[in-house]
Symmetry: C2
Subunit: 352 residues, 2 copies
DNA sequence: CTTGACTGCTAAATCCATTTAGCGACGCTC
DNA sequence: GAGCGTCGCTAAATGGATTTAGCAGTCAAG
């Protein structure tokens, strides 16, 4: 097979020294040829060709650490920062964090201090498999968000050897920035009860994050405290609008009535709009709807969607300076900052 | 000032050797203390303390390249891949690229070959200022997207010393994956003319990317070819729904009529919905609306928004394997792949 | 007084790629 | 045949951190 001649991915890696030995030249020659410096270094065309062929055959992949070490301007401090989030999470919060972080970094950059910011992702629930997470050789500091409970357990037991700020979760021994754990559910319940709703449902994804559990729990508690019935639990296959539409349509077709709906994000709420419309009900007169997150398009649904905004702005505004303080090594840091989410009232909760 | 005692960011960086000299111990001791290995290496508590104090005072920042070089399991090939995009760009495409890339990477990972994928961002129009872009010491390969024309010019003149796939632009000497440059505008024009529109407007951001120019140009050309009048040009301050709403409301208030609207993305279209509704018109009967991009919530606007989908799926499906082929060093690569965007017809373009 | 254990530290090798200085061979000139 | 230039390549130093092997010195046990 032609393929196997080139498929070296399961063989051990090679360095320029091995290529050099293989070709019968010095490592210097190999380096020069592979960096396209062969003209100024006066290597013969044939030597260059033989080196290139060997590099391909052996599956040479340059070691960036080696290169960077060598080319590093030694008077410069370099901070490598990362935002770690799960693939499955929505990106707006991450983008917000990134922008805030970049602003801070732009301001802190000097002649002798540089920063590098990247977003890296892990599979939700499999944070522990993320390579290099437990090593001290990758990041100078990290903002970590969108973990699942199993990730949080892993973190609680692990010790990451660099500064970490956790966004949106409370995990022992870490610096955490989170929204007031029960504010979201409580505010949503208040909005619905205020409009006179008596029979409400919650719409959520099947997989519950800590945050979502908190929100649902506090929603139920707030309903009870104010004399309402427990909510009807509608679980969706995913977090896409179509999942919300399907779950609610199914319920409406089979069981009948609700007069209020709390969706754990605005996408599910948008899907619910569709199901409600299809069932011939009106928002908010027949069913009052509240979402979470204030997605960009929430205002442009018909009627505009009321939403308990995840307190993203405020969280980001706390998390970024906190990371910098950790990097600086400030000892007297608050371990936990709690912010309170605002409520954005629109017509989906304004009965006449 | 207390602050200046610690503010070392503008002084040259230090290494463990300098700390060692400063404290009067060996670099080995410094390394052990800073890596929290002092117990097993039997350093005295006082030595550890003095090292820590010196490290803080001198503003020590570990050099990750040095660490990684040392700790690298030498049998492992490591590829560092990045998706480079601008801060100002919408994220859905980037997220899609990332997921596809990660899938490919997960499949290609073996015992001796590892991959690292990150999203990195640059300020739109200032790609040239991105540090390390021209060095060969950061990335093994890159997918680059959401550039502005000035970035494209920079790229056309530059030579990036690693494999690059450009997404959504055509730049000489690079491997590019892009949508058919005039298909989007043409399809949008066809949709509007088909519904009998005679007086149409385009809604776009003030800053025109290459892609947007192409789309607007081909839209105008297609209208002309089919005997329509040139579109009315509505320029918005930004790309947020509220910018679209403002621009269209302004136009409707002052000048009066249109019967068709082409918005260069679904966010602007959503804003336009609002302005149209506020002006007492109906979609699609008074004004037919077409967007671009098929955003998640487009289907849930009222009426559901027709959209010429940026051919993201198809582009991503081409770009990721192309990057891998470049990494493998395949010589016979197509320089350019053009994909054709699909049209998603919904009720915003279905007059009765 | 010898042996062994322990304490607290250091010297030197190592990771990988790049670059500078320079070596040997050859051909040419005078 | 001495001097010079060119060609094609190599040896060795370099970048920063980590780790292994081991060196002095002290103390206690035998």
């Amino acid at each position: 097979m032609l393929r196997s001649a080139r498929d070296v991915s399961s063989k051990p890696a090679v360095t320029i020294y091995e290529i050099a030995k293989h070709v019968g030249v010095s490592p210097a020659a190999v380096s020069s040829a592979l960096a396209n410096r062969h003209v100024e270094r006066r290597l013969s065309a044939d030597t260059v060709r033989r080196i290139r062929v060997a590099a391909r055959e052996l599956g040479y992949v340059p070691n960036m650490a080696g290169r960077r070490l060598r080319s590093h301007r030694s008077a410069t401090r370099q901070f490598d920062l990362a935002i770690l989030t799960s693939f499955e999470a929505p990106l707006p919060l991450v983008a917000q964090v990134l922008r805030a972080l970049q602003r801070a970094v732009d301001a802190a950059t000097t002649e002798h201090t540089r920063y590098d910011v990247a977003i890296e992702m892990f599979h939700a629930g499999r944070l522990r498999e993320k390579p290099g997470l437990l090593n001290a050789d990758r990041y100078h500091g990290v903002i970590l968000t969108n973990t699942l409970p199993v990730d949080d357990e892993f973190l609680a037991d692990a010790r990451l050897p660099y500064p970490v700020v956790i966004l949106g979760r409370r995990i022992p021994r870490y610096c955490c920035v989170l929204e007031s754990p029960d504010a979201v559910g409580r505010r949503a319940a208040e909005l619905l009860l205020e409009q006179g709703c008596r029979k409400v449902a919650v719409l959520h994804g099947r997989q519950l994050t800590y945050t979502t559990s908190d929100r649902l729990g506090s929603f139920t508690r707030a309903l009870r405290e104010r004399g309402g019935a427990d909510p009807i639990d509608l679980s969706c296959d995913g977090l896409h609008p179509r999942d919300g539409a399907a779950a609610l349509a199914d319920y409406l077709a089979k069981h009948g009535e609700i007069d209020g709906l709390f969706a754990v994000n605005d996408s599910l709420a948008a899907g619910a709009y569709d199901a409600i419309r299809a069932a011939g009900r009106k928002i908010p007169d027949d069913i009052v709807v509240v979402g979470i997150g204030d997605y960009e398009l929430a205002e442009y649904l018909d009627p505009p969607l009321s939403t308990v905004a995840g307190a993203n702005d405020a969280m980001v505004a706390e998390a970024v300076p906190m990371l910098f303080r950790l990097l600086r090594g400030d000892a007297d840091l608050p371990r936990e900052v709690v912010v309170v989410p605002p409520v954005i009232r629109r017509r989906s909760t304004e009965r006449r």
